[in-house]
Symmetry: C2
Subunit: 159 residues, 2 copies
DNA sequence: GATCAATAGTTGACTAATCAAGTATTGAAT
DNA sequence: ATTCAATACTTGATTAGTCAACTATTGATC
């Protein structure tokens, strides 16, 4: 009886009940390993993956800035604690906040020049890590993976 | 210019620098959505995904139990706070702990009968959720996804 | 049998995430 | 003009995660 690779990794003796379950666990496990790798890099810059994600979103938004909850929506991983995450980035001098003049409910956020500098130093290493981690897959396989995951996400929300 | 689905989800205006980067972000985003779905179910049982994962591992280990750090190794997502995670499960009456008689450094852990009952009630719903979330993919595509992720994990550790 | 590195886990201090309940502002409908 | 629901956060209380330093035990070497 051949054990799947994932089964071996988790030292499980029972096979998965279905390919669906194995796929789900596989996605989690892979995401965790990838996150750990990025974390190792960001750690030397005193950033968490969430903080890094926010800064990249703000860089993308440019001069106009973004309201708090819009940032939350654009984040890769959902984050109910966005206000305090931004608090910490403000404390670090990486984010600037100001109440929106036209809609005073909103608080607009921008990446500071310091943040942009930090991001610039991270760009190449991050691209390189991603490239290395995906280097086992050829271009076709990478596209396949992206498409399969697109499909999965298209239904998860509706289930 | 066609934006990728992921780009649309994240409301990004710039294309990804490479398929590798899109694949990496895609994995994170998908894992997050799937975790949210499982969370919604576990929440009504007052369990976190990590706690649920530990209980399943202990159920799999059966009568012989498992030492603390062995549990950590088998977890889907790495967890440095395993001791306190177990503390909470002990408080809830779901885990029983005892120092190992043959190697007094180790602490063996077991799922309690209450935990086994709880897990039994969760089995069907969890299988069903996984099935539903992966139902957009046919059996071949599910196997493809599993294999692609296997490949990715096989290198991530070595990068 | 004494020393010493390795293993297994715990603890303390700190940071971060979660949830529910709250405030301020806006826009729409009387 | 006034009420009322909706939006956009913010706050407090609680729980969980992280990191480094520590204790206890074991196994190996001299």
């Amino acid at each position: 009886m051949n054990k799947s690779k994932l089964q071996q990794e988790l030292k499980q003796n029972h096979p998965f009940d279905s390919a669906a379950t194995e796929a789900v666990i596989s996605i989690h496990r892979t995401a965790d390993r990838i996150r750990a790798r990025l974390n190792a890099l960001l750690r030397s810059f005193q950033l968490t993956t969430q903080q890094y994600n926010v800064l990249r979103i703000l860089r993308g938004a440019g001069e106009t800035g973004l309201p708090t909850l819009e940032i939350r929506q654009r984040m890769i991983e959902s984050n109910p604690g966005i206000t305090r995450l931004l608090d910490r980035l403000v404390t670090k001098g990486l984010v600037h906040r100001q109440r929106c003049p036209t809609d005073r409910r909103q608080v607009l956020c921008w990446a500071t020049p310091e943040a942009l500098e930090l991001l610039a130093r991270l760009d190449q290493p991050v691209v390189e890590i991603n490239r290395q981690m995906m280097a086992v897959l050829d271009e076709d396989q990478q596209q396949q993976l992206i498409q399969l995951l697109d499909l999965v996400r298209s239904t998860v929300g509706t289930v």
